[in-house]
């Protein structure tokens, strides 16, 4: 039994490591996609917000020449200077904080200006490259991001099971009689296992339907205007609910054999005393 438990734990740890890597990938990808979309849209505007503001401030009824001057020269120059100033401040802030931590005197502004300017050139080159690569829009950015969100959310639910972080209706559970606690834990885990297993089965059925549509090869079962099959996103449902079912069962068996974690069912969470030490000492 101990051997089996050890093997299950090792397997769970391996799955957990895989989940963490996948999560990092999904969250990074969805953040990058949406941010690139914002950058692309913001910098591909024929008249930017800075130019709009300057036009409104400088002229009541701008002529074509005035408009061309603001949008072609003044606006980009003002925005460029503002962003350069922001990056120089950021660079100086970074150096100042590093110096404070190391107990050194405050740094000078010269290197900060240089670092800020270099960063500015790097960012400008990146945005130019982005606009060159995607002149009108980044196709499917939002949809890809939503796909990554589905996977990351479902993986997060699976992690929540492992970490016992699901929101539990535990008003009655806390009053379980000690003598019957372990059988009740096992029963409760069995119910959770059954429900998640049922959802995994339903997920497989839905996934199979989409996979069959897609494999027919006539263009159905894919995202609008994108050659990405829908079943890739749907796959997250059966996979994660299966893992959740097994985790609920595993935790139930573990608690049945060894008792619930010290401190009872709500042993997880933040310890006030530990926090006090960490934050205030």
């Amino acid at each position: 039994m101990e051997k089996l438990g050890g093997a299950a734990k090792r397997l769970d740890d391996a799955v957990f490591q895989g989940e963490r890597v996948l999560l990092l990938l999904c969250v990074s990808m969805m953040t990058i996609l949406v941010t690139l979309d914002v950058l692309q849209r913001t910098f591909s505007r024929p008249v930017g917000k800075t130019e709009e503001l300057l036009l409104a401030l400088l002229y009541t009824a701008p002529t074509e020449a005035q408009r061309a001057f603001v949008t072609g020269t003044l606006g980009p120059a003002v925005f460029g200077l503002f962003s350069l100033g922001f990056l120089v401040l950021a660079a100086h802030g970074r150096r100042a904080m590093a110096a404070e931590k190391a107990g050194q005197p405050a740094p000078g502004w010269g290197p900060s200006v240089l670092y800020g300017a270099l960063t500015w050139v790097g960012v400008a080159a990146f945005i130019k490259g982005l606009l060159w690569q995607f002149p009108s829009s980044i196709p499917g950015a939002q949809k890809f991001a939503l796909g990554f969100m589905l996977w990351s959310g479902m993986l997060g639910a699976s992690l929540a099971t492992r970490e016992r972080r699901h929101i539990v209706m535990d008003l009655v559970r806390k009053k379980w009689p000690k003598a019957q606690e372990r059988p009740l834990i096992l029963l409760s885990a069995g119910v959770s296992f059954g429900f998640c297993g049922l959802l995994a089965v339903l997920g497989v059925m839905q996934w199979h339907e989409q996979y069959t549509d897609w494999s027919s090869g006539d263009g159905v079962g894919v995202y609008d205007a994108l050659p990405i099959p829908l079943w890739i996103g749907t796959l997250s449902v059966p996979v994660t609910f299966s893992v959740m079912a097994l985790r609920f069962l595993g935790l139930g068996v573990r608690d049945f054999l060894h008792g619930p974690p010290t401190g009872g069912v709500d042993a997880h969470g933040i310890d006030l005393e530990a926090l006090e030490k960490e934050q205030l000492s």
Partner: protein
């Protein structure tokens, strides 16, 4: 009927007694459940049994909601086979296809980055320096920190976690009672959905766009006044408690304030970037959430240098655990909502309300009562998805400004975060601070009273909500609509489909998804065109399929309801 009721009461009473005696509770309870199932076989009993079983066994909330939803779908809606029950998975996938949902993980990640990095600590330092010198200053700083953090995170539970985990230990250490500290932070954290940006406000704007178009930016601006007002009341309460408990005060130091500002400037800039970006139209609220992640990451990694690979992995893991546990609840709540809509439960509730011929003030009173009850039993997203599209047209008809109605709705559901049995902040605090749910509930009672008073003031004093919107938009307030019920044939009237929210679906032709701003503009144009008696260019018959090559149009809740009614009527006719 009375026989069944008697059986239910007997079963519940016996089960409670058996449980209390702690002897053969499980066996007696299961025996009763099985016995009564064979005796009655009623759906209501099954539902009661499922809820009772889930509570007794301490099941996760998502299993309780999903179990009840699937049971009702099988027993009442007739979706009894496995293949029919895949509707639950389809609803989950539909939910995951909503762009606005992206904002939730982004705001959660941004909040976690700030919590694990040093942004929230610097923010708190600034608040302490600014407010620490007044009586109850640390508690006031906690409330101010919640208000400020709310302007970053857009989520109430995240605000409780981010500020509460820092401030509750500090308050306890400063000799504030534990109950007061936890109650204050649990309540102040709920401001996360009232002070912009707010995820529920975006969802609300989308849900009511078919009948009473509301610009989410207007809702955001309107939320500032009530948010700060509630924050001020909570701060006032903190001051009185500071005096009552004779908590020592820190002397004011201009040098300390300057130092805290210098150290925290990059944290303090975050709301300016988020809100400035949204209001200037540079990005939508969802995009703002992604930008906030990038900004928080850049500040923590490159400037503060408080983040490393290990912490980053921990941020992703921690935030997605929160997101995942919320996503499954939300997804299974949507399945339960699908059942409620299918059975026209909200429609029946609103129909009942309409028969009472209420005045504006009576209507507000009833609506507040209804929403408070709804807030107790439903999570905020579900309540918005189900109730908002029904109530908004009625409120418009009795002369309540749609933006004001939106804020009343949000404040009511904000209170719902603090009321059992489905008060999410209560659960978060209970888990976060390792305190029993009963203790947390008792702790929030005084601040809950403050919230109720605030609700009354926000409800019956519209300028608190609307004056900033009107001032910023520099336009006169819209004249209230006449206090008459909707005329037959007008949108919002019973049995009449509201104009199809073509604006809520993907734009035809170019395949580019419209921004929320564009959607709202289109909705307003359409409404104006209708008022002029001309159909809007984009208007199409409600049930008409999208032309070939175009993405299918998203149907409004009213359309879905009408179709459900028609389908039910046809089925009734076809039945022998």
């Amino acid at each position: 009927m009375s026989f069944n009721l008697g059986l239910y009461l007997l079963a519940a009473g016996t089960a409670a007694y058996a449980f209390h005696t702690r002897r053969v509770a499980l066996v007696v309870w299961q025996g009763l459940l099985a016995g009564l199932f064979f005796l009655t076989g009623k759906t209501a009993f099954l539902v009661t049994g499922t809820i009772t079983a889930a509570l007794l066994l301490g099941q996760p909330l998502f299993i309780l909601m999903g179990g009840v939803g699937m049971l009702l779908l099988a027993q009442v809606s007739g979706l009894a086979t496995l293949s029919e029950q895949t509707v639950v998975v389809r609803k989950l996938l539909e939910l995951a296809g909503k762009e606005v949902l992206l904002a939730i993980p982004f705001f959660v990640v941004a909040g976690e980055l700030m919590t694990q990095g040093s942004l929230s600590r610097r923010l708190i330092e600034f608040m302490k320096a600014a407010f620490g010198w007044i009586p109850g200053g640390l508690a006031v700083a906690a409330v101010a920190g919640c208000c400020f953090f709310a302007a970053i995170s857009g989520s109430s539970p995240v605000t409780v976690v981010a500020i509460g985990s820092l401030m509750v230990p500090a308050l306890v250490k400063a000799k504030y009672p534990e109950g007061f500290s936890i109650g204050l932070l649990t309540t102040a954290g709920s401001l996360g959905i009232l002070i912009p940006p707010s995820i529920p406000m975006i969802v609300y704007a989308i849900m009511v766009s078919a009948s009473t178009p509301v610009d989410p930016t207007d809702l955001f601006i309107a939320g500032i006044g009530p948010g700060l007002f509630i924050g001020a009341l909570l701060a006032g309460y903190s001051v009185t408690q500071g005096i009552r408990f004779n908590i020592p005060r820190e002397p004011f130091s201009g040098k300390r304030l300057w130092e805290a500002t210098r150290q925290g400037i990059w944290s303090l800039l975050l709301p300016v970037i988020i809100l400035g970006g949204i209001y200037s139209g540079i990005f939508t609220a969802t995009e703002a959430s992604a930008v906030s992640v990038v900004y928080a990451f850049a500040v923590e990694w490159f400037i503060h240098r408080e983040m490393d690979k290990k912490k980053l992995l921990s941020v992703v893991e921690g935030s997605m655990t929160v997101m995942g546990s919320l996503l499954v609840i939300l997804a299974l709540a949507i399945a339960l909502n699908y059942f409620l809509v299918d059975q026209q439960v909200p429609d029946l509730m609103v129909e009942w309300l309409k028969t009472k011929n209420l005045s504006k003030h009576e209507f507000l009173l009833v609506v507040n009562g209804l929403l408070l009850v709804v807030g107790c039993f439903m999570d905020i997203m579900s309540a918005i998805l189900i109730i908002a599209p029904m109530l908004a047209p009625m409120a418009d008809a009795v002369g309540i400004d749609p933006v004001h109605m939106g804020i009343i709705f949000i404040v009511n559901l904000e209170i719902g975060y603090l009321t059992p049995p489905v008060g999410l902040n209560l659960f978060v605090s209970s888990s976060l601070f390792k305190k029993g749910l009963g203790f947390v509930i008792r702790s929030v009672l005084p601040t809950l009273g403050i919230m109720l008073v605030s609700l009354a003031i926000i409800t019956w004093w519209p300028p608190l909500t609307l004056s900033l919107v009107q001032a910023l938009k520099a336009k006169p307030a819209e004249a209230p609509a006449p206090a008459v019920p909707p005329q037959p044939g007008t949108p919002g009237a019973p049995g009449v489909a509201a104009p199809a929210p073509a604006e809520a679906g993907p734009a035809a032709g170019d395949g580019k998804v419209k921004s929320l701003e564009e959607l709202m503009k289109a909705a307003k144009q359409k409404k104006a065109a209708e008022a002029g008696g001309e159909p809007a260019p984009s208007e199409a018959p409600a049930a008409e399929a999208a032309p070939s090559g175009e993405a299918p149009r998203v149907k409004s809740m009213q359309e879905l309801m009408r179709e459900a009614k028609e389908r039910k009527a046809q089925e009734a006719e076809a039945a022998p």
